[in-house]
Structure formats: C-alpha cells, structure tokens
Symmetry: C2
Subunit: 236 residues, 2 copies
C-alpha cells in the first residue's frame, strides 16, 4: 500500500484552533474524508471547520455515519468507509480523515481505524478537545498539583458519574445535552451546582455559555455537544 492516511482532529469548532501541522497536511492531501451525521452534502461539521485549508485540487468525500441505535447500520458505515479508504491508499493516494475535537477521544475515527486492513501507513494528528476550550473560555482551570481529572460521557451509568463526582477534584461530563435534567439533579445532590459551568457548541456560532449551572433551568433543551465542567476547587 503506497499511499498514506492522516487522521486529523479538527478541534472543537473554530477554524484557527487546528494545529499548524494539520493545516499544512490538509493543504497537500489528495482526498479528505469527512464524517456527517445527516444525509446531504455540506452537513459535515468537521468539514466546515477545516474547509479553508483544503486545496482546490483535493477531492472531498463526505460520508454518512448515522446516529442510530441500530448497530448493524453503524457497522456497515464504519466498514464501508474503512474499505473505501484502504482502496484509495492502495491506489497511492494521500488521504486525510477529519473528525471533531481529538480523534482518539470519543471519535468516529476509532471505529474506522479498527476496521482498516493491516499495512496502511497511518499518522494521527491530535486535536484540541472541547473541554480544554471550555476551561479556557470560562477561565476555570482543570487540574493542578496532585489533583485528578475524570472525563465521563453522560451515557455512562449513574453510579459511575456519582463515583467520579466524589473521587476527582475535576470532572468533565461530555455530551450532556441528551440527559441534562437528570444530570442537574445529580450534581445538585452532591452540592456542586455552584462549581459547575456548561458550554454548548464551544467556539461555533451557536455557542451558549452558562457560567453557573444553578442558573440553567432543568427543562433547558441543550444541543448534543454540551459539556459540563465541574471543579470542586473553584466555586463560580
């Protein structure tokens, strides 16, 4: 296989939060694969973030990764894209696969990566995570000295979130949009509402920022990409 595959984290949303290395690579590859959650061209968020770095001669392949509980459908999408990429690499192409945030952290990339045939030359370029940006924007540190940090998705079991709230000085809850009402109650039970901030769609035009979780109504309808940052050492 004579081509090469670059997996590139686009960062959380703003075009200038990608790395200098990623920008350079995107300007030189033959093909860019971008995941989309909905049908139709131009729906890939990752693509919209990095489009300005892509050269005119580069082919863009938006590919649908359906958000569904139907595992067979997901499997089909992951395997299909893995095979298509392998075929491009075999033909000697330089290929980039882009994904939001960091490609090794809750990313579609890993599901494609696992299904690639052996022998593909892969280079992975890390990206800025949403929680690093949220800490920066709200000016709330993540961890210092001997403190520890846990990153937990809101789809994790309730007991796991409870344990993390007790054991770590800082907790990041990813994808909080889907279960916000329960989460707010749970954080309140730990008396930590005043230590929590919430940011949705960080660095996108639709960004919303709540600097004290106590101010957000439980009934609030939040976007999928909502992140809660709780730091017990820093009351709001």
């Amino acid at each position: 296989m004579s081509g090469k595959l670059y997996a590139i984290g686009t960062g959380p949303g703003a075009a200038d939060l990608i790395t200098v290395r990623a920008a350079k690579i995107l300007g030189s590859v033959d093909i860019v694969y971008a995941p989309a959650a909905r049908k139709g061209e131009g729906t890939s968020l990752a693509l919209s973030i990095i489009r300005e770095y892509i050269s005119n001669g580069t082919e863009v392949k938006e590919r649908l990764f359906p958000m569904t509980s139907d595992i067979a459908k997901k499997e089909e999408a992951w395997l299909g894209v893995a095979q298509e990429i392998a075929s491009d690499i075999n033909a000697g192409k330089e290929v980039a696969f882009v994904s939001l945030g960091d490609v090794m952290l809750y990313s579609t990339w890993v599901s494609v990566f696992e299904r690639l045939p052996k022998g593909v030359d892969i280079e992975i370029i890390p990206g800025i995570t949403s929680f690093a940006l949220i800490a920066a924007k709200t000016q709330r540190p993540l961890v210092m000295d001997t403190q520890s940090l846990a990153i937990v998705p809101c789809t994790a079991p309730k007991e796991e979130i409870d344990q993390a709230l007790v054991q770590h000085s800082c907790l990041v809850l990813m994808k909080a949009g889907t279960r916000f009402s329960e989460l707010k109650k749970q954080i309140e039970a730990h008396k930590l509402l005043n230590y929590a901030v919430l940011v949705s769609d960080a660095s996108l035009e639709s960004e919303k920022r709540y600097t004290n979780l106590a101010d957000v109504p439980e009934s609030e309808r939040l976007p999928y990409f909502s992140t809660i940052l709780i730091n017990k050492e820093w009351a709001v």
Copy 2:
C-alpha cells in the same frame, strides 16, 4: 488596564503542534513571558517550542519558576511574574504567557493567573496535551462510547491511582518519571502491564517510546515528562 494578556498552550513539544490561532497571536504581541525551571537564558522549553513564531520586535522575558518544595520561594516567583505582567498590561502592552501542553492542565500558568489583579483582559488559548499526542503516536485510543478516562499525576496518593485503575477504562499517569519503579509494581498488581505504554518527552528530540510497559525495567531512569497510558480495552 489597556493592554491584553494571552495565555497560550504550546502543546507537547513540536513547534507545529501549536494552534493556528496561537501562532498568529505570538507573531503580533509586544512581550512573551516564558517559564524556565533552571537559571540562565535559553533554558525555557516552552520558549524553544514557539520561538520561530515570535517577531523580531517582540521582547522575550524568560522567568525562573524554581522546582522546589519551598513554597515561599514558589509563591515569590508566581507573585513576582503576576505583578510584572500586570505592570506591562497597565502600560498598554499586548503580552503572551506561554506554557507547555494545555495551560489549564498542570500548568504554571494557573499559579500566575490566580495572582493577577482584577481587571486584566485575559484570553486563554488551549493547547494539545501530552496524553493526546501519546495516544496519537502509539495509535492507542483514549476513550469511546460510554467509557471514561482519568488523568492522574503520579504524585497523587497510591490509593487514588488504585481506584482509578479499577474504575476507569482508560488511565493517564502524568509525570511518571519520578516514581516509575513503584508505579510499575502497582500496575502489575492490577495485571495491566500489557495494556500500558510509556512515552517520555513526547515529540521532543529526546523522545523515548515504550509500547509495552512490561518491557521497561523497573530500574529505568526516566525523564520528568514521562506519561503512562493504560487502556484496558486495548491490549498491546
């Protein structure tokens, strides 16, 4: 205060792993503050990473943050730099403070930030963390789906590291250089050596990579910036 302060994460070591935004800001500020752990000019690692982005007209202020257990000495350094920055901002200067990795994660920046007077206009630019780069380099994912990740410094109590090894599917141990022998025994007790990789000085010239912790002698002398990544779902 008419100036502005940018806190900039330089990423883990390679110059092209800073963000496009950071590169642009570094090219336009009046003054760059860079922390050094030893006396003498040119010893700041953060400065060496980003020097190529600094304009000729920019003043560089390397400042010593001694690595000592003497809290009074540390406090003096943090406060001194905070006051000096505030004075520059008061004089209308655009100032950058650079620090390794991400500035909100185990960073000197937070200690300076806490000591700045109210009213300083601050913008924080996130950086790539060492653990994101290590996952990328060793091609080992951090987390997927409902999995959780803990970031724990090796200076944390032994019990806390034990708990994190049990509870999270992925664990990052930061600054593992100082306590490697004990850590290796501890990870072995959990039967997780074959799930662990270790990288020192990631993306620096002195980088060392061990793709299976079982292969690293307990007696190995490792650099301060050594990171262990354990993912229970991915045997080496």
